[in-house]
Every structure is written in structure tokens, then in C-alpha cells.
Symmetry: D2
């Protein structure tokens, strides 16, 4: 495995869905930074399950205990380790999955890769539960970024065809991002949000699930973040976001839409703002040119597949008997992971940006 990410600010995530605990070590954080635990708790609640009808009723005790890395409430140079105990686990729910890989999950590939030794309970290290320590790390990084005037925020752009208003590429503000973060269902247009929730519940009713798209924006990023050729802004952000389970696509700015545009349409003209900053009139480039931040808002979208664990009967195989079987996944699953994935995307983005920011050439 390779459960570390980052060069200068490096996170290492550990734990399985049903191991004694899960957590994260964050090394290389800027020193002397106060960490507000209440803010972290608030952030992590946005990911926590069991809060409403469209998320799993499984409860998690997700508030991490910090073992190291802080001194008198501030980062002290030593690696910060946070641990979340695994308490509310029902391993029996997963017993039959040892033999019957769930379609759409990593059960089968992990079984082959780890030669049958992998911890299959609850998806092991592949579980969505491992995004809890990612969110913790993201919340820590976000506090430091915000002190530098950098704000990260995301919303649900679409679920099963229902679309929210996209972010405005040029005018998006930190205040809007903050407002969305406080909503239980993070969309810009609440009407669209209600239709999305209805679509989720309709799928749940049919023991089915739905996917969606999350859009994330970053404002206040200075010019110059990103280390081409291989650690450019898009490369690093995509690597981090694709590490979130269920992500199948990542795009920046105009994204896949560029295929239909002329250069004369897609190019963003430069101009001088009254305050002397160089800006672009439009933001098809999504805040990154040549793998380096342009000073314009960063815009990223990530596609999440429908939760593969569904109550409907599906075809699979018995790995032991080497024959076909059917499987209806029991347990407590989200009919749509997208709402809880919103802070995960923000976290992946925040962790990546703080790392790149700290790597910037002076």
C-alpha cells in the first residue's frame, strides 16, 4: 500500500473499517499554528453518518483524539497524530463478503492483491470510513490556509440529473463558500437540493443508490502554487481527489467541455484589476495555467459513482466454490455518498494545497 500523501506537508492514513482504530499522522505542518478543535469537530460533522434519512443510520464516534504534534494548543513541529476509535462496528454484517465480492467494490481486487490476507470486514482499508481521518487532516490544513486568506469550499453540483447552479468562475467569494458549508445539504440553490434529496430517497426506496458530481472552489490562492512538470496543480489535486473512494472523474475549469470549444473561446484574456493584480476576464482555465495557480478561483469537479452497496440482488461469484452466486448487500449503507463526500473533497484539496504552498520556491 501507499497511504502517505504529500512532500512537505505529508499525511499518512491508517486503519481499517473494523480495526481498533483509524487515524492520521500529519508531518511537516507549519509551526506555531493554533488548532481550533471546535472548528474541526464542526467540519467533521459534515462528513459524519447518521444525521438524516439519506445517509446511513450507522453512528460514528468521529471526534479524534490528538496524541502528538500540538503543544499548548499549537503545532510544534513534531508530527501530529490523531486517532479515532472504532466502536460501533458490526463485523458479522460482513461475514459472507469474505467469499462473495460485492460488485463495484474493491473486495475482489484487494483479495487478489493481498492474497486473501486483507481485512475484508467493512471494506477494510478501502472503506469510506477512512475518509474521516482525511477530513481531520483537511480541517487542520484549512485552518492554516484560511489564516493565509485561502478558502476552500464545495457544493453538490448534480445528483442523478438534478443540477445545482454552478459556481461563478470569476466572482465566487469566500462568504458564499462559508454559507454553503453551513447548510445540511450543501447546494447553492435549495430548490435543486430538495429535488436531489427526493431522487436519493426514491433510489433508497428501491434498495438502489445514485451518484453525483461535486464542485469545489478555492479563492485567495496566490499566483505560483504548483510544481510542474509532474507535481502541477492539476496532477496533485487529481491524485488526492481520486484517492477518495468512488471518484471516477476529475476536471478543472471548463473540464471536458473544452473539447467543444474554439481556442478563441476557451482562452481567458488577461487584464489589470484596479488594485494592480493581473486577472482573467473569464475562467475557463479553472485557476491553473501550466500546472501553476493563476490567482483566479480554482475550480475542480469530481464525479462520484453510485454507492455500490445496494440491497437489490446482484450477480457475483463465490471465490471459494468458484461458481456464480447472488448477493443482496445488507448492513447500513448510504443510498448516495455525495452529500457526505463534499467535505472529503474539500479536505483532499486543502491538504494538497497546503503541501504545494509550503513547497513553493521562495
Amino acid at each position: 500500500m501507499s497511504s502517505s500523501f504529500g512532500e512537505k506537508v505529508k499525511i499518512t492514513i491508517f486503519g481499517q473499517s473494523h480495526s481498533e482504530g483509524i487515524g492520521v499522522v500529519i508531518d511537516g505542518l507549519p509551526v506555531g499554528e493554533p488548532i481550533d478543535m471546535e472548528e474541526i469537530q464542526k467540519f467533521m460533522k459534515r462528513r459524519a453518518p447518521g444525521r438524516n434519512a439519506y445517509s446511513t443510520p450507522r453512528k460514528e464516534e468521529d471526534m479524534p483524539r490528538i496524541l502528538s504534534g500540538l503543544f499548548e494548543g499549537k503545532t510544534c513541529g513534531a508530527p501530529l497524530c490523531a486517532v479515532i476509535e472504532n466502536t460501533n462496528t458490526r463485523s458479522k454484517d460482513y461475514d459472507k463478503l469474505k467469499d462473495l465480492p460485492r460488485p463495484g467494490h474493491g473486495d475482489y481486487t484487494a483479495w487478489v492483491k493481498y492474497q486473501g490476507a486483507n481485512d475484508y470486514r467493512g471494506g477494510g482499508h478501502f472503506s469510506g470510513r477512512l475518509t474521516a481521518p482525511l477530513c481531520f487532516a483537511g480541517a487542520v490544513c484549512m485552518q492554516i490556509l484560511e489564516r493565509k486568506g485561502i478558502h476552500v469550499g464545495a457544493h453538490i453540483l448534480s445528483i442523478k440529473g438534478v443540477e445545482d447552479t454552478p459556481f461563478h468562475g470569476v466572482q465566487i467569494q469566500a462568504e458564499e463558500l462559508e454559507k454553503i458549508a453551513q447548510k445540511e445539504f450543501p447546494v447553492q440553490n435549495d430548490r435543486a437540493g430538495e429535488a436531489m434529496q427526493a431522487a436519493i430517497l426514491a433510489a433508497k426506496e428501491k434498495l438502489d443508490s445514485v451518484g453525483g458530481i461535486i464542485e469545489c472552489a478555492v479563492v485567495g490562492l496566490p499566483v505560483g502554487v504548483g510544481e510542474p512538470m509532474f507535481d502541477g496543480l492539476e496532477s496533485r489535486l487529481a491524485a488526492a481527489v481520486f484517492a477518495i473512494p468512488a471518484v471516477k472523474g476529475v476536471e478543472f475549469g471548463e473540464g471536458f467541455g473544452v473539447a467543444a470549444l474554439f481556442g478563441s473561446e476557451n482562452n481567458d484574456s488577461f487584464y489589470y484589476e484596479a488594485d494592480g493584480r493581473v486577472c482573467t476576464k473569464t475562467n475557463h482555465h479553472g485557476g491553473s495555467l501550466g500546472g501553476i495557480s493563476s490567482g483566479m478561483p480554482l475550480l475542480l469537479r469530481a464525479a462520484f459513482k453510485p454507492t455500490p452497496s445496494i440491497g437489490q440482488e446482484q450477480e457475483t461469484v463465490s471465490l471459494e466454490k468458484r461458481q456464480k452466486e447472488t448477493l443482496a448487500v445488507g448492513g447500513r449503507h448510504d443510498p448516495c455518498i455525495v452529500p457526505r463526500a463534499v467535505p472529503c473533497v474539500e479536505a483532499a484539496v486543502a491538504v494538497t494545497l497546503l503541501d504545494l504552498l509550503c513547497r513553493m520556491e521562495r
Copy 2:
């Protein structure tokens, strides 16, 4: 900068568009592997400019000279270094770009990041020319992969709205990939290819440019490739592909389409093939489950923006005079980079897969 990629098989790319030379060092290649230089030349020709009406007339002497790493025609354990001389450069074409950043290019961001010390001629290290050593490295890796039964191939999926037949997610074969690689315009449906070429030439006529989408498939990949949580298959491949200039989106399998599907539609059922292999009936997952290869064909799509260098007049700024200016980019540019980018995507994929394959736990 960060111009290295890979852990076990590591490539380091160097050079600027107009420096004395460009090249690549490949460290960690499997030893004793014969390298067929003719095959490499054939592969690199697919990227070479100046071959037809829809690519830049600028000629490159792109056959690299190998300085090290081979002994008696085989990899010998030492890092392989290949150098391409830069001969046909016209630096004067770029003189005014020092002051006037081209919209859609990295000129401005590089200027800020490198405090004005960057080599702006021809885009410097950000030039598409730097994909030549990437293609060299890809061609080397591809030869080794092919000996292991792994075949990488790509085609143009769309240009300015004209669409080629997509790869069949389940039935795609090495022979088809090989056939496309031999075409001058790499599409499945040549009729679509002609329409694409017409669209490119129409844009060229208007001193404009167009973008497109490239689809890449890999067949023969064994189960188990990819190192989650952060070096999963999608994370690593996306990082590599986003390092190619002009890429703004990357997706796998169903990609952004997952947002419109039910779980019951998107999940791919497992079954046993007659030969005892576990397969899936459909391939919405695009060959990766949990960040690990499933043994099904890998499917990746990358969106390329229209070439930002266009002859039309565009708005920009003078960095020196701090005022607005207009700019019509001269020089010799592709009206569409997509056809020449096809082998670049294959190369990025091949380099990434050989690295991950060599990192696999035994």
C-alpha cells in the same frame, strides 16, 4: 519544479523548448530487457510535428541519442538517459512573449513563480515539446509491458463535437489497438476521422484552434496493480496524464457519466470465464476497483483544451508597462494538438503502469 515521476521506475524529464537539448533519465527499469530502437522511432514519429496539414510545419529532429543505461542493446540496471538536440528553434518568434503573456498559456504563471528568471522562449519547460522525451520513455516502457502481455493504445474520441466510436469496454483487443496506432489519424471510424480533420482545418483557416478528447485502453493488465490509498491506479494515472500540457479532465470507465446512473446500473456483475478468470459482464468501472486493476480493460479518457496559441488577436497585458495590449501569436502552431497527443497519453499511461507493476507486492 518537480520533473520526476515514479517510485520504482522513475523518469526525470529535462529541457526547455529552446535550450541546447531536452531529454529524460529513466531509473529502475527491469534489467536485461532488449530495447528496439526502430520501434521507438516509429512510436515517436506519431508525436512528431510537420507531417501534415493539421499539425505545425515546424520540423523536429526527434530521434534521441541514448547516452547510458543500455549494454549490448539491453537495459543494464543503470539509469537510461536519452537526449534530443534542439536544432530547429527560432527564438526570435518568441521575443515579444517576454512581456506579453499568451492567454491560455503558462507564460504569466511561470513568470510570477520563477520571478522573471524563467526561459520564456517557446514556453520553456512548459512547452509541448517536452512531451517528446515523455514519448521516448513511454515507448521504452511499452516494449517491456508488451513482453508481459500488456498493451496500451489510444484513439481520438472527439474533436469539436465530432465523435469516434468509443472503445468497447469488455471486448477491446490488443490487435485493434495496434491497428489504430498505425493510422496517420488515429480513430476507429475513419469517416469520423475525416470530419474531425475537416473541423481542424476549418479552425486553422480562421486562425483558431480546437480541442478534443482522447480515449486510452489497456488490455492484459493483471489483477492487483495499484497502491491505494494514495497511489491507486486512478490517482497515479491521473497525475501522469494531467502532466501533459493542455489536459483539463481525466475520467475512468463510465467517468462523469456515473452521476446519472443508479448503483444497480453502474455496478458490474462478476462471473467466471470459461478459462477460470473472474470477469465482469460490463465495464463501467473501467478496469479499476478500489484503486486496483481488476483484470478487465482499463479505460481512461482525457480532455485536451484547444491550442492556446492562435493567430487571432487576443487581449492580454504588458507586464512591463502594466497596461493592456493585444497579441496575435505568431510562430508555427498546431491548430489542434489532439492527434499528436495520442501517443503522449499512451506514454504517460505506459510509464505509470510499468512503475506500479514493478511496485506490486509479491
Copy 3:
């Protein structure tokens, strides 16, 4: 900071002397390896303080709790995290060290580097206590190495001029290493051991401390371990051993003695063993040629400085008042760290070798 080590098997150590806990994450371990917790406990006891007159009376509850990475007692592919709670800490002992850096310690350099935000209590992340998680990681790696026939063992070679019999470069056996590991005072010649203990107690009496040299051997290492040019055997082992606090020198085989030899003396002749192995008649090279293991016993020596914390009055400065001060370090300190450092050296070596072994080209 940079508290990770290793490429394929990677350890990340966290914690401060007086933080809530300390521990280690080990990523990339071979899968399906049973871990014997009793063996680990036995190994860690060799490092534990408070066992006799020549070590600090401070007790540690050093048995780690494993949070993740094992499933049914075996490594499962997921990162293994082990945590040791910090319970028996007396932070008040260290209060005045905030202002008065202890001579020979990292107090002053850490204070400058971390701009006064570092956790000075007990040396923070620089404390010898952080070798407990290193020993845990080493004990895990050693179990896996031993299953491959590779044995790591060390002894005290000298303390304050008293010398133990050095390892025989060619004939050293796993059984001898095992026997020494079971001794409370790990030397080959117990008479020398008694003289060393007397020297330690004499220093303690004078509120002083002494240093020494540890010699470590590895038998059973196959030919081919080590990744030149920069990750050769010596480079990696030295990097790991120098990470143990108080180490000021590392040498291999003949070490600094080579400066007095002719090539004709220092070169080790090759010959064929009856069993067909290529061996050397002597072992001046210490088991490494060209940075790659030769199949002969690996021989490494590390010099440890006298514990800098001594009860005698020393000259230092007040960082706040910017004037000179004197300091007699209170608290509970070892008059000689060398006996407890023996398993630390073994651990550093074991962790490094398992990593390099897993990185070997196939």
C-alpha cells in the same frame, strides 16, 4: 520535520516525550505475515528503562497497542499503527529547560528551528523515548526477516575504553546473536561487560555519563540488497542509524581502519564454498561491495556520545535574558545510553534491510 523512513516498507514515527502518546505507522509490510506479540514485548523490554542500576529509574509502559494493520494476527496490507500511551511523565522536571538549553542536546537548535513553538518537555520529538516506536517497528520487521533466514544482532563493543571481543567477520552465526540478545548486558565477553558496568556506575557516582560503541551484525542476507547509487546499503543503513539520538559515527567492516591498510591487505579474496556459494576469505568490506550486499555477514559499528543530561553543573545561556547561566540537569537520566541503545541499532538495521529487500529488482 521528516519523520518517515523507507520507500517500500515505510515507517512514520510520531509523538513527543510528554505528549499523550507516541507511536509508529508501518506501511508496505509484506502481507500474510503473522506477528508474535510476545516476541515484540521481549524485544522492547531490552530497550525499556528502569531495569537496573545503570539505566534511568523512570518506568515506561512501553507495550504498544496495535490499532490497525493486522487481521486475524497477520499483516493484511493496510498500514500497521501501534500506539504507546505516555503515562509516567513529570513535565515539571523540565520547566526550566524552556529557557536554559541543555549542552549537548537539541534544545537550542529546535528552539531556533521551530521558532520557540517546539515542545521542549523532555526533549519533545527529539527524546530518546521516540526510539520505543522504532524498536516496535524493528521487532516487527525482524520477525519477517527471520522467516527469510536473516538474523540481526548487536553487542556493546566498547564503553569508556573497555572493549568487548569484536564479532568475527566471517564466522559469526545467528545462534551467537540470539544468545547475546538474551543477556541483560549484551556483550560477548561477560568479564568485559562487568568492567563496562563498573565504568558506568563510576560515572553515575560523579553525576557524569559515558558513551560507547555498538557493533551490529547481520547474517543470512542474500546477495543483491541495496540500491546504488544513492540508496546503497551503507547510505541507507547510515541514514537510519544516525537518526537514533546520540549517534556521532557509523562505519562498516574495517571502517576507519581502512585508512591504515594497503589495498592488498584490505581486499577480500573471493572463493567458492563447498556448497557452491561465492564467499570472501576475510570480511574487511563488512558485507557490502558497491553498496550491495555480498552475502557475507554485514558488519556495522555506531558510536554513541555520553548522555548529555548530567547532574553536574554546566555552563549554558538564558535564551530569554540573553545572558550566561549554569545548569545541573535534574530528572531521571541514564548515565550511559549504550546498553539500551543496542536493540535500537538492531531495529534501525532491521527496518532498513526489510525495506531494501522488498525494493530488490526481481
Copy 4:
């Protein structure tokens, strides 16, 4: 292999003794730094062979050609690649070494590791010739360090028992280092130097070789350089210096001498200099405390074994016939590598320090 070193300033060395060329890529250099090619040439000449009776008569055309990374004579952010052509090679000299591994060389271990595919000519990638690109990289880094007031210099401390005056741990000055660098035989005491040269020539006469110790000092290093726990100053410097062929020991400050000292002797008292700097009265710690630079001169010593290639007849084996053989190494070899290794140690130190300096937390 693993031929890259460094995190922020990363060097990648390529080439074999008899391949078409050798060289280095340096990525991550500070930008806008002028590089004085004459200074580089002067530095590299100190390593060049063929200059006198005690070095190999083999000539090298060692002035590298810079392919990339400079623009208008200054570093421009792009990786700097320098290539040295291999012209004066006599491959026939090495023909029989394919079968008969030279005692004391990496021939045998490389042959096993690379399964017979390694380039054995002249030692391939293991050749001392590969220190030429290391010296180039060191010379580049040294120019940048010097502009920051950091000076690196080394001398021969001993050869075959003849000793030079060691550096004064506290009072060593940049000017002294500079003076030694200009000497053909770099020692402090020229009388000792003459005796060393006599010892070398006496060994040469007998077709034998001798080893020695190099001492390196760095003055002007600010407090705070080094990234513990695993990238501390000693760990990184030792890793770099052990990558130089023939190094068998590395120590800092008092080094192995610490084993004979009391803590009260070895601890260096802090005091305030008149100019307000915190200094130590003595420098047993060699400029590093807790793996972090203390602001005092850095002191490092490296032991070099006698050149293993000697004209005397030695015992070895025929790998093909699997029987014993004798071998007298022909070709052109240094009877003592130490004088030419002096700039190599300086280069390894300079490359490491610039990397660590650029990694420092702000």
C-alpha cells in the same frame, strides 16, 4: 537502482564508465542564480585524473555541456542537465573482468543483482568516474551556498598513517578552506602532505594502493538546517557521502572518539558571542545537535578504503567456470583515490546542504 538524491534540490546521476556519456540532472535549484562556468571548471579539475604521479594517467574530458536549466546564464526553474561525453575509454582493458570479479569491487554483487546484464566495463555505473557529475552538481550548489555565506571545504586528514593537522573545531574560517582548495595536494600542513605523497608512491611502486581519511568543514551554516527525525543533518550527509565509492566510515565532530569521553567533557557549553549569537566554547558536536545545525562549524570525516584495483596478483573466482582464479588488475588506476576524492566529499556535502536549506521551514 536509485540514482536520485534530495527532496527539494534533487540530483539524478546517470551514465556508466564506458557508455556514450555520463551526467546529472539537478531539479529544484533556486531560480535566478548565475552559474560561473569557469568556477565549475576549476572545481572539477581538482577531481580530474591524470594530473600527477599519484593519480591515474587516464585523461578525461570532464567539462560538462549544459543542455538545459540555464537561461541567460542563470538558473531558470527548469531542471539543469549537464552531460560529459565519454571519449577516452579503453573497453578492452576490462574484457576479462566479465568473468573474474575484482576483489574489493562491486563487480560480483552487481553481476548477481543485475543477473549478468550489468555493464561491467570499467565498473559501469559503479565507477569512480560517476563522481564527475556529482562534482559538477556540487560545484553548482556551492556557488549558490557561497552567495548565502556558506563555505564548504575539505582536506586530507590522513593517508596510511600520516596525519595532517585537523581543522580547529571552533576557529576554522572560509579563507582557510579556500586556501586549501587551491593546493594541488589539499592538506593544511604541506610537510605532512609530502609524506603522504611519498606513502602513495611507495605503494604504487609495489603495485599496491593505500586509503585515507578526508575531513570536511562547513562554515557559515545558519542554525536550523536538518529535518529530524529521519532527515537530520547527520543522516542526510552520511547518506550522500556513503554514496561516494570506497567510503567505509562517516563521523561528525568528536565522532568515534565520543566513546572514550565523559559527558562533562563531550558536552559543549553555550555562551553568547559579543555579536549576540549563541555559540559553543568547544565543538565536540561537530555543528549538529538533534540532527539540526547549531551555527557552529560543521565537521565531518569520511574514511576511504585503498583503491581495490591493484596490479598485484589476487585470488578470485571464475564465475563461468565456477573455479578459483588469480587476477592482476591492469588498466590505469589511482594508487590512492583520496586526493581526488576531496572535491567529491565537498560536492556531496554541498548538494545535501543546499537541499536541506531549501527544505527549511520558514
